[in-house]
């Protein structure tokens, strides 16, 4: 038997113990274009319904074996996903009959006697409702399919590409099939980890159109080594251009540097971000300091990252407002206090996501979840990139002071950039250099070490050369935060000063060599003492400063400071 959607004709079922009545109704229905089946008791009516799946059922009330009410209940329970319009035909003109008919699942009642015209009008009106119902159903199905596709795309394209899923605890419970929350993690070239928790306005498919370009930007910029703040500026621009005024993204960003024992945080419209120690005590709360992204064209003046010192055993926790605002049947909200208590327990047991979710569910007792729930917890220790993968066998610090020049004419290509004043404060040349190198020489893992070398040398030239910052600042407990703030301050006031970066690439038999020269306009520093100090590696291994330059000297074939420390030359061999 064809299903109702596949038939090209309409089918009606008449259930009445009077053969005469069946015939009369049958004739009228045929005039309306129906094919008609009849049954003479309720039980037989239910059987016929199952067999033929009619578009319309006319039901008598008083019948042998099974009465009309009971038959109607059975039919309605069999057709939960389709509206099988069912009309009671009766001579019982009482309120009671009317009420019971509707309660049994009937969609209408027609009381005898009625004229053929009234009967046909009733059939038409019920058919109209049934057509509308079918339309809604098919729209609903189409929407469901779209959401499923989008969900697949989200989990396939966006979330499966997240970094370190084994170490970062991510909890996600969407209010609908498709969440308006987005959680991204990615690794920086220097081994730091960048994390984003975003909450688009509303939830469901509509709210997530910005998610895919956003994820792309976050990953690509992180990979290229842009700083967290540069990434945020770019994302805000992108979302402002992409989204209509009433759609935006409340977002929290964290970048954790294990080597600096520092977390950089930006909270734009999320509830407080937490830093917990391993005992579950709150060490810091970082409040929202900026409207959500995509609301204003560029970030508010004076916007900056919050910088906090962290221990390796600490963790940083981001959450969306869905948890705080989860409600129970009494209309009460879960709230911050309950959350903090559950989080404390969860951090202590190292089951944060699980513990918090369990507690929220206990509180809500099955009340409808109105908003997406999500939470990310990132440990602060051990985000270090394994370096020096292809060191020559006798790996030792480069021979300082004897720099062998290759003839300049031998260079396959050269590239340089000079940044000064305000531009020096705002533009990071390393991602630009890296993308140039990869344009010319092709991408690949071999450039990772070069990225580290360039970054360390450039930062040294800028921080200690041009800005004159003293790295001994970093030795104190809150040193990195102090250092970072001082750096920000001096960068903002920077009006002169120059850094020049030059690259020369030489082709050697079966490999290549990159010569790097970085000159800065600073006064230089006591590089001899510095180099001597770092050559006694043991001593500085535990120190917070100077670590970068040791790494560089290990990675480079040659490394030398000149002109009192204001010019550095390095040479990197590609295998």
């Amino acid at each position: 038997m064809a299903s109702p959607q596949e038939r090209h004709y309409k089918l009606a079922l008449v259930v009445d113990d009077s053969v005469m009545q069946c015939k009369v109704l049958g004739v009228l229905l045929k005039e309306e274009g129906y094919r008609v089946f009849t049954a003479n008791d309720g039980a037989r009516g239910v059987d016929m319904y199952i067999k033929y799946q009619p578009d319309l059922v006319l039901m008598d009330i008083n019948m042998p074996v099974m009465n009309g009410y009971e038959a109607a209940r059975k039919i309605k329970s069999l057709s939960k996903n389709t509206l099988a319009p069912l009309i009671f035909i009766t001579s019982m003109d009482t309120d009671q009959a009317f009420i019971e008919s509707i309660e049994a699942g009937g969609d209408g009642i027609l009381v005898r006697p009625f004229s053929p015209e009234v009967f046909k009008a009733k059939i038409k009106s019920i058919q109209r409702i049934s057509d509308l119902y079918a339309q809604v159903k098919s729209l609903q199905q189409a929407q469901q399919q779209d959401a499923e596709l989008a969900e697949q795309l989200m989990s396939g394209v966006i979330e499966s590409r997240n970094f370190a899923l084994d170490r970062i605890d991510i909890l996600k419970k969407p209010a609908e099939l498709f969440s308006g929350d987005i959680q991204l993690t990615a690794q920086c070239p220097n081994g730091d980890v960048n994390v984003l928790l975003g909450d688009f306005t509303g939830h469901g498919l509509r709210s997530s159109i910005g998610a895919i370009p956003l994820a792309e930007t976050f990953r690509v910029m992180t990979k290229k080594g842009f700083s967290l703040f540069e990434i945020i500026v770019q994302m805000n621009n992108q979302l402002y251009d992409l989204l209509p005024s009433d759609l935006f993204l409340a977002a929290g960003f964290v970048s954790i540097s294990s080597s600096d024992a520092t977390a950089y945080v930006f909270n734009a419209g999320l509830p407080d971000t937490y830093v917990y120690d391993q005992l579950g005590e709150i060490k810091h709360k970082i409040v929202s300091t900026h409207p959500p992204l995509g609301v204003i064209q560029s970030l508010l003046p004076g916007s900056k990252l919050d910088v906090v010192s962290v221990a390796p055993t600490d963790s940083v926790l981001l959450l969306s407002d869905g948890i705080i605002e989860a409600g129970n049947h009494g209309g009460e909200m879960y709230g911050i206090e309950r959350f903090e208590q559950a989080a404390k327990l969860g951090v202590t047991n190292q089951t944060l996501g699980e513990t918090v979710l369990y507690d929220v569910e206990q509180f809500c007792q099955g009340a409808l979840q109105e908003d997406d729930i999500s939470l990310i917890s990132v440990p602060c220790g051990d985000w270090v990139k394994p370096v020096a993968v292809n060191l020559p066998p006798a790996a030792k610090p480069a021979p300082y002071g004897t720099f062998v020049e290759l003839p300049e004419s031998g260079a396959l290509w050269q590239w340089n950039i000079i940044l000064s004043g305000e531009k020096l404060a705002k533009v990071n040349p390393i991602p630009i250099a890296m993308s140039f190198i990869q344009e010319v020489e092709g991408g690949g893992e071999q450039w990772q070490n070069l990225f580290t070398i360039l970054t360390e040398l450039f930062v040294n030239a800028l921080d200690h050369g041009v800005l004159g910052l003293d790295s001994s600042l970093k030795k104190e407990a809150e040193g990195f935060a102090l250092y970072f703030h001082e750096r920000e301050k001096r960068l903002q006031q920077l009006t002169d000063g120059t850094v020049e970066l030059s690259l020369s690439y030489y082709q050697l038999a079966g490999s290549g060599r990159m010569d790097i020269v970085i000159k800065d306009s600073g006064k230089g520093f006591d590089h001899k003492a510095f180099l001597e100090k770092i050559s006694t590696e043991q001593e500085v291994e535990m120190a917070l400063s100077g670590r970068g330059i040791i790494l560089v000297s290990q990675l480079c074939d040659q490394l030398d400071y000149r002109k009192g420390g204001s010019e550095v030359t390095a040479s990197y061999l590609l295998s």
């Binding site: 306005t201 509303g202 005024s245 009433d246 959500p292 407002d321």
Partner: protein
């Protein structure tokens, strides 16, 4: 109706009050309340003294009102949000985008 509106006789001061919940269900009503007000320099006062709850889509709706007001070289003032609504406005740092009066 849970969106109430009052317009001054010179058409330049529009007060919009929201009762109870301010969420996506009010989208159309809220828009209808201001879209016809086009006096140059109009000041839209959003009275939230009777608003018990506000969600993020309401924040979006306020931004649309702000766009509308700015097109008229006017402004938006939010008045008397209760504690929980004020918290939501604070997290979203809306005081940096428009005026909020207690």
């Amino acid at each position: 109706m849970s969106v109430k509106k009052h317009v001054s006789s010179n058409l330049k001061e529009i007060t919009i009050g929201i009762d109870d919940r301010f969420d996506f269900s009010l989208h159309q009503l809220f828009r209808d309340s201001y879209i016809g007000e086009v006096a140059q320099g109009a000041v839209f006062t959003l009275d939230l003294s009777r608003t018990s709850y506000m969600d993020s889509s309401a924040l979006g709706m306020i931004l649309l009102l702000k766009d509308h007001a700015e097109k008229l070289s006017g402004s938006v003032i939010i008045k008397q949000p209760n504690e929980s609504v004020a918290k939501i406005l604070e997290i979203a740092q809306f005081h940096r985008l428009l005026k909020i009066e207690n």
